[in-house]
Point group: C2
C-alpha cells in the first residue's frame, strides 16, 4: 500500500496515537488503513467404500501450486458465513454433491496472515464436475494420497488430523475439533 | 475504496474475467483489490467462587458501544495466531492473568463481514488492570450479567452458549465447540 484508497494521497507507515503497531496512515484524510489476516475455508469430502474412507482431492489448474493436489477451498468472501464459503468452494472446485458436517480443524498460518478452517463433509454420490480451477477431481484412500504432491502444508496437516480421527472412530472414538499452528520463516519453529 | 492503493489511479467496480463477484479493479496497474471478512478474537475468562462460575466482563471506554459491557477481544492482527490474539486482547483490555483453554465458539456475522472466535480461559488470580479501552473490569455470576447492556450480539450469544455448557458440565457433561450464525439486515432471519 503506497496511496490512500479513499483520497489517493501517499500514505505513511507509523504507529498511530493509542496504538501499538505500525499502520498505513493517510495524513490528508485521516484514515488508518488496517490490514488483517484472511480466512481460507476448505472441506474434507469423504466417501466410504468397502469399509475404507476415501477423501476427495482436486488437482489445481491455477497458480500457485499448479498441478498439485488440494482439498476444495479458498478465501472466504464478504457477506457469507464460514459454512456458506465451505459449500461454495466445494461446488466451484469439485462440482460435488455433499452434506456439510461440523468444523474439524483450525490451522493458523501467521507467516502468510491466514487462518484455514476445514469442515468435514460426506459425499452423496460420485458425480464430480471439476470447475475451472481444477484439472482433475478424484478419491484417495489414505495409502493412495500423493503426500509429496499436496499443494499446501495446511492441507497436509488437515489430512493427517482427519485420518488420525478416522482410526479413532473405527475403535469407538469420535471426530474432535483440532487446532494447530504452522509457523514459518521468522516465526518460532519456522 | 475509490483509488488504487498501489498506483493512486481511480478504481472501478466490476466482475473480473474468470470471477463471479464484483471487485475493485485498477485498469492502470492491473491489481484486483479483494476485500474479505475479518476475524475478531475474544476470551471468556472465568473464576470459580463457592461453586459458582463468574465471568470477567469489561466496560467499554471507546466507541462503538461506549459504556456497554463486553468480553475481552478485538481484531486479529497480521503475524499472529488466533491464540496469540486472544492472549493479547485479554491482557490489553483487562490486564488479567489467565490460562487460555480451547476454542469454545465460532459466530458468523456476515452483515458486518466478521467471524468472531471465543476461547475459554481460567483466571489465575483476581488482579485486573483495565487498559485504555476499558472503564472497568469485574466478575459477574450468570444472574448478575447486565444482559441489556452487553455491547455486541455475538458476546450475548457466546455468554449464553457458555453458561448452557456450565450447566451441562455440573451434570457430568463437557464443554463442546459451538458454531452459530447471527444474520442481520438483508440476510435470512435478519
Amino acid at each position: 500500500m503506497k496511496f490512500c484508497s479513499a483520497c489517493a494521497h501517499p500514505v505513511t507507515v507509523e504507529v498511530p496515537p493509542d496504538d501499538t503497531l505500525p499502520r498505513h496512515v493517510c495524513h490528508a484524510c485521516g484514515i488508518i488503513h488496517y490490514q488483517n489476516p484472511k480466512l481460507v475455508i476448505c472441506t474434507i469430502p469423504t466417501w466410504e467404500e468397502n469399509g475404507e474412507t476415501k477423501v476427495l482431492l482436486c488437482k489445481r489448474a491455477i497458480s500457485p501450486r499448479h498441478g498439485y493436489w488440494t482439498l476444495p477451498g479458498g478465501f472466504m468472501e464478504n457477506k457469507e458465513t464460514t459454512t456458506e464459503a465451505a459449500q461454495r468452494e466445494t461446488e466451484e472446485e469439485a462440482g460435488a454433491h455433499f452434506e456439510l458436517l461440523p468444523l474439524h480443524s483450525l490451522i493458523n498460518l501467521p507467516a502468510f496472515h491466514q487462518v484455514h478452517l476445514f469442515y468435514r463433509a460426506t459425499l452423496l454420490d460420485l458425480e464430480f464436475n471439476p470447475g475451472k480451477e481444477s484439472l482433475e477431481v478424484r478419491l484417495f484412500a489414505k495409502s493412495e494420497i500423493p503426500w509429496d504432491h499436496i499443494a499446501f502444508a495446511t492441507v497436509t496437516q488437515a489430512l493427517q488430523l482427519y485420518f488420525d480421527d478416522v482410526a479413532k472412530v473405527k475403535h469407538g472414538g469420535t471426530f474432535g475439533f483440532h487446532a494447530h499452528d504452522i509457523m514459518g520463516p521468522g516465526y518460532p519453529g519456522g
